[in-house]
C-alpha cells in the first residue's frame, strides 16, 4: 500500500516536516544570526584572540614588510646615484660608482628577504586563524538546539563555515597587510621624492588624483554593469538548471525548441550586458596607463628642465631616473588599496556572520546530577504532553499514552498532525512545553541526553548516509562492530543481497558523491545500521516508505524478531505496516482522536475506519 495522504510522498525529510507543522518565520529567526551589532573593534579584538600563539608572527610580518618597503623605495635613489657617476665617455667615476653598487648589492637581497618573511608570516597566520575559527564554528554546532537547524537554512550555515571563514582569512589578514604595505609605499615614496626635489614631487602629487579619479570612475561604472551582467547570468543559469534537470521530460514532450527560444532570449540580453560590462572594466588598465604615461612624460620634461636650468630645483640625470621609477610605482598602491578596502569590508561582514554563529544561544547542558539510563526495559509513558514550535500555534495537546515493554505502538494521521514531532520530543531534540515523558519511570528531562538517545534505535524517512563506505555507514551506530556483525545486520535488513552486487561490495563509497543508490536501498542501509545497534526502543518514522511492499514485509519480520520483548513506535502511511500493532493511535490536529487495535478501530467507524475504507473505494 502506498501513501495515504496526498502530498506526503514528497515531503522529503526533516526540514519539510518541520515546515509543515513547525515555525514558518525562518527569515526572522535567521536574521538573528546577522551579527550586525559587533563593532569593527570588537571583531578585530576577537580575531586577535584567535591568532593566539601565532601573534608574534603578526608583529614579525609587519616589521619585515615595513623594512622591505622602505629599502625597496631607497633602491631607485641608489640607482640614480650610480647613473650620475657615469655621465660621459672618459669621465666615469669608477671609485664613486663602487659605493652605490655595493649598497645595491646589500639592499636588494634584504628587500627580497623582507618580502619573503612578511608573506610567509601572513600566510601562516591567516591559515592557522582560518583553521581555528573554522574548527570552532563547527564545534559550536553540537551544542546548539535542534530548533536551530530546523529554522536556519543549511546553505547559509554552510556558507559561514566554508566561505565566510575563508573570507575572513583572505580579507582581514592578507588585506590588512596589503593595506599596510600600500600605505607605507605611498608615504615612503612621498618622503623620498621630497628629499630629491620638493617642486617635482609636488608636480607628481598634483597629478596623482587624476589617475585615482579615472580609476574610481571606471570602477563605479563597471560595478553597475557587472551587477546587471550577474543578474542575467543568474537568470540564465537558473533557467539552464531548471530545464536541464528536467531534460527527459522536455524531450518526451518535444519541448526542446521552445526552451531553446527562451534560452536564446535571455542569452541575447546577457550578450548586451556582458559586452558592456567587459568593455567598461577592460578600460581600467589602459585608462590608468594613459594617465600614468602622461605623468611620466611631464616628470621627464620637468626633470630634464631641472637638470638643464637648475630651476625650479637642481637635479642630476640619475635623480630624474629615480623620479621616473617613483612615478611608475607610486600609482600601484592606490589601485591596490581601493581593492583592499572593498575586500576588508566584505571580510568584516563575513567575520560578523561567523561570530554570530559562534555566539548562537546554546542548548541547556545536562544537569550535573543527570540520570544515566542503563539497560532500559522500554517502558514508555507519555503524560499530558503539550508542545508547540511557536507559542501562538499549539501543535500537540494532552498526549497521554503508555507503552509497556514489548508493545508495538503505531501512529497514524494526516501530514502535519504532529507524529514526527513526538519522535523529536522523545529524543529530546525539542523540550516539552507541558506534561512529561517517562522511560522506565525516569522523566526524560532528567536523563542525560546521551544515555537517553543511546536507548533508542531510530530510522527516519529521510535517509542519511555520510560519504564513506557501506560498511562504515552500517557501523556508524556501533563503531566496534566486527565485519561479520555488519554483514549479519545487513542480511537481517535484506540489504546484503544488493550490497554484494555493488561494484566494491561493502567497500563501495556511498553518500554524497558516492555511487547512486535508490531511495529504497538507502532506507535498507539505514535499517541495517539500526539492526546493528540492538536498541531497547525502536522508532520508525516512515522507515520503509520507499521499499516495495514485498521487501517491506520481510524487513518488518526482521524488526519483529529483533524487538521481541522490546518496545517500538512506528509512524507509517501504509496501513499494512500498522495493522498488527498492539495499539494504534490516530492523531488529528495535535490530539489523539482514536486509539485501539486495528479491529477495534474499524468497529468504532471513526477516522481510521474511514481511511481504511477509502482504500477500496472505486476499486477495479
Amino acid at each position: 500500500m502506498a501513501n495515504l495522504y496526498s502530498g506526503s510522498a514528497l515531503s522529503g525529510g526533516s526540514m519539510a516536516v518541520i515546515k509543515n507543522d513547525g515555525p514558518d518565520d525562518d527569515a526572522r529567526q535567521a536574521s538573528a544570526l546577522v551579527g550586525e551589532h559587533y563593532t569593527a573593534r570588537e571583531v578585530m579584538r576577537r580575531l586577535l584572540a584567535y591568532m593566539g600563539p601565532s601573534k608574534p608572527l603578526l608583529v614579525l610580518g609587519f616589521v619585515a614588510s615595513a623594512v622591505s618597503v622602505a629599502l625597496q623605495l631607497w633602491v631607485p635613489i641608489i640607482i640614480g646615484e650610480a647613473i650620475d657617476c657615469m655621465v660621459e665617455a672618459g669621465s666615469v667615476n669608477f671609485a664613486a660608482l663602487r659605493g652605490p653598487l655595493t649598497r645595491l648589492a646589500m639592499v636588494i637581497p634584504l628587500v627580497a628577504l623582507g618580502q619573503w618573511v612578511s608573506t610567509t608570516c601572513t600566510n601562516r597566520l591567516s591559515y592557522e586563524t582560518i583553521r581555528a575559527l573554522r574548527d570552532d564554528s563547527f564545534r559550536v554546532l553540537k551544542g546548539l538546539p535542534l530548533s536551530f537547524f530546523d529554522t536556519h537554512p543549511h546553505g547559509d550555515l554552510l556558507a559561514r563555515i566554508a566561505g565566510d571563514v575563508d573570507q575572513v582569512g583572505d580579507g582581514l589578514l592578507q588585506g590588512l597587510t596589503q593595506l599596510f604595505s600600500g600605505i607605507m609605499t605611498i608615504v615612503g615614496t612621498l618622503v623620498f621624492m621630497c628629499s630629491l626635489s620638493v617642486p617635482v614631487a609636488l608636480v607628481v602629487m598634483a597629478l596623482t588624483p587624476l589617475s585615482i579619479l579615472v580609476a574610481s570612475q571606471i570602477a563605479k561604472r563597471s560595478s553597475a554593469s557587472f551587477a546587471a551582467q550577474q543578474a542575467l547570468q543568474g537568470q540564465l543559469g537558473g533557467y539552464a538548471e531548471e530545464t536541464i534537470s528536467n531534460q527527459r521530460l522536455i524531450t518526451s514532450f518535444s519541448q526542446s525548441e521552445r526552451c531553446q527560444k527562451r534560452f536564446e532570449d535571455i542569452n541575447a540580453k546577457l550578450f548586451v550586458a556582458g559586452e558592456h560590462a567587459q568593455f567598461v572594466s577592460s578600460l581600467t588598465n589602459p585608462s590608468t596607463r594613459i594617465v600614468n604615461n602622461i605623468i611620466y612624460a611631464v616628470v621627464a620634461v620637468v626633470g630634464c628642465l631641472c637638470v638643464v636650468t637648475g630651476q625650479p630645483s637642481p637635479l642630476s640625470v640619475g635623480q630624474v631616473q629615480s623620479f621616473l621609477s617613483y612615478s611608475n610605482q607610486y600609482m600601484k598602491p592606490f589601485n591596490e588599496i581601493s581593492g583592499v578596502v572593498t575586500q576588508l569590508q566584505a571580510a568584516l561582514a563575513s567575520a560578523r556572520r561567523v561570530f554570530a554563529l559562534l555566539d548562537a544561544p546554546r542548548e541547556e547542558p545536562d544537569a550535573a546530577d543527570a540520570i544515566e539510563l542503563v539497560d532500559c526495559t522500554g517502558d514508555l509513558d507519555f503524560r499530558q504532553v503539550d508542545f508547540s514550535y511557536q507559542p501562538s500555534r499549539p501543535l500537540l495537546r494532552d498526549i497521554t499514552f503508555h507503552a509497556a515493554p514489548g508493545q508495538r505502538i503505531a501512529l497514524v494521521g494526516p501530514t502535519g498532525c504532529g507524529k514526527t514531532t513526538l519522535i523529536n520530543l522523545l529524543l529530546r531534540f525539542y523540550d516539552l512545553k507541558g506534561g512529561s515523558i517517562r522511560i522506565d519511570g525516569h522523566d526524560i528531562a532528567q536523563c542525560s541526553r546521551k544515555s537517553l538517545r543511546g536507548a533508542f534505535g531510530m530510522v527516519l524517512q529521510d535517509t542519511w548516509l555520510f560519504s564513506g563506505t557501506v560498511r562504515e555507514n552500517i557501523r556508524y551506530g556501533r563503531p566496534d562492530a566486527t565485519d561479520e556483525q555488519v554483514e549479519e545486520a545487513a542480511r537481517r535488513a535484506h540489504a546484503h543481497k544488493f550490497i554484494v552486487q555493488l561494484p566494491q561490495g561493502y567497500d563501495t563509497m556511498v553518500g554524497e558523491g558516492g555511487g547512486a543508490l535508490s531511495q529504497g536501498q538507502r532506507q535498507l542501509l539505514c535499517i541495517a545500521r539500526v539492526m546493528l545497534t540492538d536498541p531497547s526502543i525502536l522508532l520508525l518514522d516512515e522507515a520503509t516508505s520507499s521499499i516495495d511492499t514485498r521487501t517491506e514485509l520481510q524487513v518488518q519480520d526482521a524488526f519483529d524478531r529483533m524487538m521481541e520483548g522490546r518496545t517500538s513506535l512506528v509512524v507509517a502511511h501504509r496501513l499494512s505496516t500498522v495493522r498488527n500493532a498492539d495499539c494504534i493511535l490516530v492523531m488529528q490536529d495535535g490530539v489523539i482522536s482514536e486509539r485501539g487495535t486495528h479491529e477495534e478501530l474499524l468497529e468504532q467507524g471513526g477516522f481510521y475506519a474511514h481511511l481504511y475504507a477509502s482504500q477500496w473505494e472505486g476499486m477495479g
Binding site: 647613473i83 669621465s91 563547527f138 554546532l141 531534460q247 612624460a297 499494512s576 477509502s614 472505486g618
Partner: protein, 582 residues
C-alpha cells in the same frame, strides 16, 4: 588543442573584428616600447646639449604616443568585448541546443550538474580566455620580447643580460606555478571535503545525535580542516618565493647593467640615456612576465573548459531521427495494436539487463497495468515508449509503425507520458499545461484538469490557469503536482498515455476517481499504468508483472492471482487474503 577546434568552429563570424583588435593592440605595444628610447634621447640629446626645445618636443611626443595609443587600445578593448562575448553567446546557444538533443543515456552519463556547469561556468571561462587572448596575449609577450630586442639593438651584450634575467624570471614563475597549481586544486578539493562533512552534519543532525556520535564528527571535521590548512600553508610557502626571487633577479640584473654600462660609457660606446633605457626595459620585462604567467593560468583553465564543452558538442545523440522517418498514422489499421512490445530488451551500458524479452500488445483504448518491486524495470519500460532510450533488442510499435522509423515529434505527440517525478517548470499553470498543444483553449485545459482531478485546487488559486508556478512547482503539494503533470499529459488528446507511478502521492479515493475519469474519456487513450499499488492495476485489461526486468506474468488480475506466485505475494502484502481471492 580543443581550444583551437572551438575557435575554428565559433570564430569565423568574428574573424575580422578579432584581427583588427589584435592589430590595434600591436600598435599600442610598439608605442609603449618606444617610450624608454625617447626618454633616453631626451637625456642624451636634450639634456646633454642643453636643448630644452628638444626636451619639450620629445615630451610632447610621449604624450601624443600615450593618447594615440589609448585610442588604439580603446578600439581593441571594444572589439575584444564583442568578439569574446559574441562567441560565448554562440557557444552557449549551441551547447544548450545540443543538450536538448541528447538522449537519456547521454544525460545520465554527463549528469545534470555537470551539464549546467558546462553551459554556464565553462563557457564563461572560455569567454575570459578569448578576451584575455585578444587583449593581453599579444601585449605582454610582445612587450617582454620587444624590450629584449630593443635592448639588444642598443647593445647586444648588455641586451643579453636582460635576456638572461628574463629567462631566469620566467623559469622561477614556471617552477613555482607548476608546483603550486596542482596544490591549489588539492586545496579546493579539501575545502569541498570540509563542506561535505559540514553539510552532512547539518542534514543528519538528528541521526548524529541519536547515535551520540558528535565527538566522532568533530574529529572528522578537525582532521579534514587541519589537512586543508597544512596544504594551504605549503602552497603559501611556495608562492611566497615568487616575488622576492624575481625582484632579486631583476635588480641584480640592474646592478650588472650599471656596472657593465659604466665601462661602456667610459669607453664611449654607450650613453647615459641608453643605460637608463636599459633599466626601464628591465622593469617592463619583469611586469610583463608576471602578466604572462597570469595568462598561462587563465588559458589552462580556459582550455580545460573548452575540452569539457567540446565533449558535449561532439556527442552524437544516441536517439536520433532516421532520415526517412514517417508521420505516425492517426489510428492503427483494423486489427493492429495501438502499442506493442515485441521481445524488447534493454541494458544500461554493460550491466545486467534492466528489461529482458518483454512482449505485449494493446488494442486501442485498452489499459495495461504494470506492477513490480523496486528495480524491476518499470520506469525503464516507460522511458522506452517515447524513445528516451532505444531498446537494445526487439521492436516497439505504435499504431503498427516501428517507433525508430517514426518522426520524433510525431511519436511524442501520439504518446504522452507522466513521469514518476512530478515536476513543473516555472511559469504559469497554463504555460505548464499547454506543452503538448500551444494553442489549447481554456476549455480544453479545464477539461484535462477535471479528468486529472485537479480542477478544484486550480480554481481556488488566484489567477486560475494563470496562477504562477515556481521553479520545480514548489508552491504546490506533491499530490497537486502529480495531478497537474497528469493534466499536462492529457491536453491535446494523446492516443497513448503512459503513467509511471504517477498517482503515488494521491490518496486512494482520488486515485480511484482519476482512474475512473480516464476510463470515461470520450476518445479513450490506450493507457499504460505503472504502479506499486495492486489497487491501481487490478482493474486493467491486462497486467504485466515484472521481476528484475523479466516478465513474471501477463494476464488479468484473476488469472494472475491463480497462476503467478509473485503477483499473489504482492497482493498478499497489500490486501487481506480474502480480498485477494474475492
Amino acid at each position: 588543442m580543443t581550444m583551437l577546434s572551438l575557435l575554428r568552429r565559433f570564430l569565423p563570424p568574428f574573424r575580422n573584428k578579432a584581427i583588427v583588435g589584435t592589430i590595434c593592440k600591436v600598435v599600442e605595444v610598439i608605442f609603449d616600447l618606444l617610450t624608454p628610447m625617447i626618454v633616453a634621447r631626451m637625456i642624451d640629446a636634450g639634456v646633454a646639449a642643453h636643448d630644452m626645445a628638444l626636451v619639450v618636443r620629445l615630451g610632447a611626443l610621449l604624450v601624443l604616443l600615450a593618447v594615440v595609443g589609448y585610442g588604439f587600445t580603446f578600439v581593441c578593448q571594444r572589439l575584444a568585448a564583442t568578439v569574446s562575448q559574441g562567441m560565448g553567446t554562440d557557444i552557449r546557444n549551441a551547447l544548450y541546443a545540443k543538450v536538448g538533443e541528447l538522449g537519456a543515456a547521454d544525460l545520465d552519463r554527463f549528469g545534470t550538474p555537470s551539464l549546467v556547469t558546462r553551459v554556464t561556468n565553462d563557457v564563461n571561462q572560455v569567454q575570459v580566455a578569448i578576451a584575455m587572448g585578444i587583449r593581453m596575449l599579444i601585449r605582454w609577450p610582445f612587450i617582454a620580447i620587444g624590450s629584449i630586442v630593443a635592448a639588444m639593438s642598443i647593445d647586444l651584450r648588455l641586451g643579453a643580460v636582460l635576456a638572461v634575467c628574463a629567462v631566469s624570471i620566467a623559469l622561477v614563475f614556471w617552477v613555482v606555478m607548476s608546483r603550486s597549481i596542482p596544490l591549489f586544486r588539492a586545496i579546493q578539493e579539501k575545502l569541498d571535503g570540509i563542506s561535505r562533512i559540514a553539510r552532512e552534519n547539518l542534514e543528519g543532525v538528528r541521526v548524529v545525535r541519536a547515535f551520540g556520535r558528535e565527538e566522532h564528527e568533530d574529529e572528522r571535521f578537525v582532521s579534514a580542516s587541519r589537512d586543508q590548512a597544512d596544504t594551504s600553508i605549503a602552497v603559501g610557502k611556495l608562492s611566497a618565493l615568487l616575488n622576492p626571487s624575481t625582484y632579486l633577479i631583476m635588480n641584480l640584473g640592474v646592478v650588472a647593467i650599471l656596472w657593465a654600462g659604466s665601462v661602456r660609457i667610459d669607453a664611449g660606446s654607450l650613453t647615459q640615456g641608453e643605460v637608463i633605457a636599459f633599466v626601464n626595459y628591465m622593469t617592463q620585462v619583469l611586469v610583463s612576465i608576471g602578466y604572462v604567467a597570469n595568462l598561462v593560468v587563465v588559458f589552462t583553465r580556459g582550455s580545460a573548459s573548452a575540452t569539457r564543452i567540446m565533449e558535449v558538442l561532439n556527442t552524437s545523440p544516441e536517439v536520433a531521427e532516421a532520415s526517412d522517418a514517417v508521420e505516425l498514422p492517426a489510428a492503427p489499421a483494423p486489427g493492429t495494436p495501438a502499442l506493442s512490445f515485441e521481445n524488447v530488451s534493454f541494458t544500461y551500458g554493460g550491466q545486467s539487463a534492466a528489461l529482458g524479452n518483454v512482449s505485449f500488445a494493446l488494442a486501442p483504448g485498452e489499459t495495461l497495468g504494470i506492477i513490480g518491486g523496486t528495480g524491476s524495470g518499470k520506469s525503464t519500460l516507460s522511458a522506452l515508449c517515447t524513445r528516451l532510450y532505444d531498446p537494445t533488442q526487439g521492436i516497439i510499435r505504435v499504431n503498427g509503425v516501428d517507433i525508430r522509423h517514426a518522426r520524433l515529434d510525431s511519436l511524442r505527440k501520439t504518446v504522452s507520458s507522466v513521469p514518476q517525478r512530478a515536476s513543473l517548470l516555472s511559469g504559469t499553470i497554463r504555460s505548464n499545461l499547454s506543452w503538448r498543444k500551444l494553442e489549447a483553449s481554456d476549455d480544453e485545459l479545464w477539461q484535462a484538469l477535471a479528468t486529472a482531478q485537479a480542477q478544484d485546487f486550480v480554481r481556488e488559486k488566484e489567477g486560475g490557469l494563470d496562477a504562477p508556478v515556481e521553479a520545480g512547482g514548489v508552491n504546490f503539494s506533491g499530490g497537486q503536482r502529480q495531478r497537474l503533470t497528469i493534466a499536462r499529459a492529457l491536453v491535446g488528446s494523446p492516443q497513448v498515455i503512459v503513467l509511471d507511478d504517477a498517482a503515488s502521492a494521491l490518496d486512494y479515493a482520488t486515485d480511484a476517481r482519476l482512474r475512473h475519469a480516464l476510463k470515461e474519456l470520450s476518445d479513450r487513450p490506450t493507457t499504460v499504468v505503472i504502479s506499486q499499488r495492486v489497487a491501481a492495476v487490478m482493474g486493467s485489461d491486462q497486467i504485466l508483472v515484472l521481476d528484475h526486468g523479466q516478465m513474471a506474468g501477463l494476464g488479468t488480475h484473476d488469472e494472475l492471482v491463480r497462476t503467478c506466485p509473485i503477483y499473489r505475494e504482492i497482493c498478499l502484502s497489500q490486501l487481506k487474503a480474502e480480498e485477494v481471492d474475492n
